[in-house]
Amino acid sequence: MTGTFAHIRRLARHPSGLFGLLLLAAIILMSVSAGWIFPEGPWAMVGPTRLHPGVDPRFPLGTDTYGRDIVSAIFYGARVSLFVGIASAAIALIVGIVVGAIAGYFGGKVDDALMRLTDAFQTIPNFLLSIAIVGIIGASLPTITFAISIVAWPIIARLVRADVLRLRTYDFVQSCKIIGMSDMRIVFQQILPNCMAPIIVTTSVLVANAIIVEASLAFLGLGDPNVMSWGTLLNVGRQQLRTEAYITIVPAVALVLTVLALNLIGDALNDVLNPRLKERT
């Protein structure tokens, strides 16, 4: 893509986009620094149990039922949320782009078959499928990531397919064919770079969505018990909502802010990357 840097600059000048970027940067910083700010890890039972926020300055957000520091849990949780969000979006992107590109470029029976498959994935209740996969295979980070991405790729596939369908009739594609360029090269070097804008925008939504689904799974008790995620904290906190509401509220706020940041960035990207809207004033 040309002018990526210019896009980022424009994004930074977009007020809500900037706010989103700053929020996301803070969350990334949290996840990166978790290791050295809290070297003992999020599971260490470092304080008295169920300490409310603001009581002990060592634990500004209090401790949970195990006496674990909630700040530490939020920091480590950011890691999990970002990992699941980014990893599952990446998988969905790869699968979606490949399926969409093949379907759109080759058309015909291949397209028909792939689109029926896509339909099937969009027809089956998505969250249910994720639950089933995690429930059956077992709640671990890779499984959760897989379960989220397997229902997310069809959106990308449709997007890419539509764009490829449109672009493959263009002259530049035709001339590539004439000079004998291979199908793969045409698709990946010539066509795909031309339909990146909507994909990039959708990706920010995918990441946000994946973070919500991970938290929802953890809320149902289908989180990876070996990693501290915001959903885990929510699930624990839910049991003591009436007595220690902060255990629920703190991760809920973290979750909402992260999703908010990603959506703000997505909206801003949409404004920046969508030339159609840009031209009209």
């Binding site: 339909d119 027809t123 996969i133 149902l220 009209r280």
Partner: protein, 346 residues
């Protein structure tokens, strides 16, 4: 399904209204859609079947665990439900039954799957219909209000509100609703879809159900209100920039008419597509809401069916919800043809 196999727009040269006689193009289109839908359903069912069957453990393991069954008893159960047969034979048997709309028996509920689904369907149907229509109406109204006041504080306020709704997962909304309206204020019942065993009838019953379902519907709605609001606003602003709106204004008709007659109808089209997507995601999303609000709906039933390896029941639920999704998408396509005269059959 709308996107691929749906109608395409084009500059029709034929002089024909959307429903100009149920001539062969429409007939052929419907037939093609039906074949596609059937294919998709078969894919969904076979896929789900294998997902359940390849999972470690079957429902006899679950029963054995909860009932302290002995090895002989479990073997007897497996034979009784044909679980000792090869997978392919199980699949063929199941698909054979399904072809006659027989969903089989749910060993976990000791009842035919059809009975279980029929018992669950009303709750979920009310939830889905109520939240789709409510979120669509409220969301669109917000979207319109924001678009009409684009750039003003009202727009900013609505946009921020929509973003917050959009970013807050439904289960968090549900917890908060229970906390505030159920416990702190004590205004609303917290669980179930009616006051069980109270024998309410007529209006009393309807009022009772309404009270019970208000919070769940609101919790299911918020996210979609935000979506409709955002799409509505964007779509409205987009349409308001189009030439025909300027033409309408140049005609000297009232701004209200420009907005509500000319722009709105065009702006609504993407919202209708959204409704189709919403229906398909609601059954899944309902798992959380039905869990939190203790509603005996399809979502929670499906979830329990997965945990208990009640393959027949899960497949029955998936079949029902997929059928609903396919039907809704079909209806939406038809609706499109009515609402947008440009839509033409492929």
């Amino acid at each position: 399904m709308t996107q691929t196999s749906g109608p395409i727009t084009g500059n029709g040269t034929k002089k024909a209204g959307p429903f100009a006689a149920l001539s062969s193009p429409l007939g052929r289109y419907i037939l093609r859609r039906l074949v596609q839908a059937l294919l998709v359903m078969v894919l969904v069912m076979v896929g789900s079947f294998f997902l359940m069957k390849l999972a470690p453990g079957d429902f006899v393991d679950v029963l054995a665990g909860t009932r302290d069954l002995t090895a002989e008893q479990t073997a007897e159960l497996r034979a009784r439900y044909g679980l000792d047969q090869p997978l392919v034979i199980q699949l063929v048997r199941y698909m054979g039954l399904l072809a006659t709309f027989d969903f089989g028996y749910s060993p976990i509920n000791a009842a035919p799957v059809t009975d279980v689904i029929l018992a669950r369907l009303p709750v979920t149907a009310i939830l889905v219909v109520a939240s789709v229509s409510l979120s669509m109406v409220i969301g669109t109204l917000f979207g319109i209000a924001a678009a009409r006041n684009a750039g003003k504080p009202v727009d900013l306020g609505i946009s921020i509100f929509m973003l917050l709704l959009y970013a807050t997962p439904s289960f968090i909304v549900a917890i908060m609703l229970i906390l505030v309206f159920g416990l702190k204020l004590g205004l609303m019942p917290i669980a179930g879809y009616e006051s069980v065993g109270m024998g309410y009838t007529g209006w009393q019953h309807i009022w009772d159900v309404t009270r019970h379902l208000t919070l769940p519907v609101v919790a299911l709605c918020t996210f979609y209100i935000a979506i409709y609001g955002r799409i509505g606003r964007a779509s409205m602003l987009e349409v308001m920039r189009l030439d025909f709106v300027r033409t309408a204004r140049a005609k000297g008709i009232s701004e209200g008419r420009v907005f509500y007659v000319h722009a709105l109808r065009n702006a609504l089209l993407p919202l209708i597509t959204m409704a189709g997507l919403q229906v398909s995601s609601l059954v899944g999303g309902a798992v959380l809401i039905e869990t939190v609000f203790g509603l005996p709906g399809m979502g929670r039933t499906a979830y329990d069916a997965v945990l208990q390896r009640d393959t027949n029941l899960l497949l029955g639920v998936i079949f029902t919800s997929s059928l609903a999704v396919v039907t809704v998408n079909f209806v939406i396509d038809m609706l499109y043809m009515v609402l947008d005269p440009r839509v033409n059959l492929k």
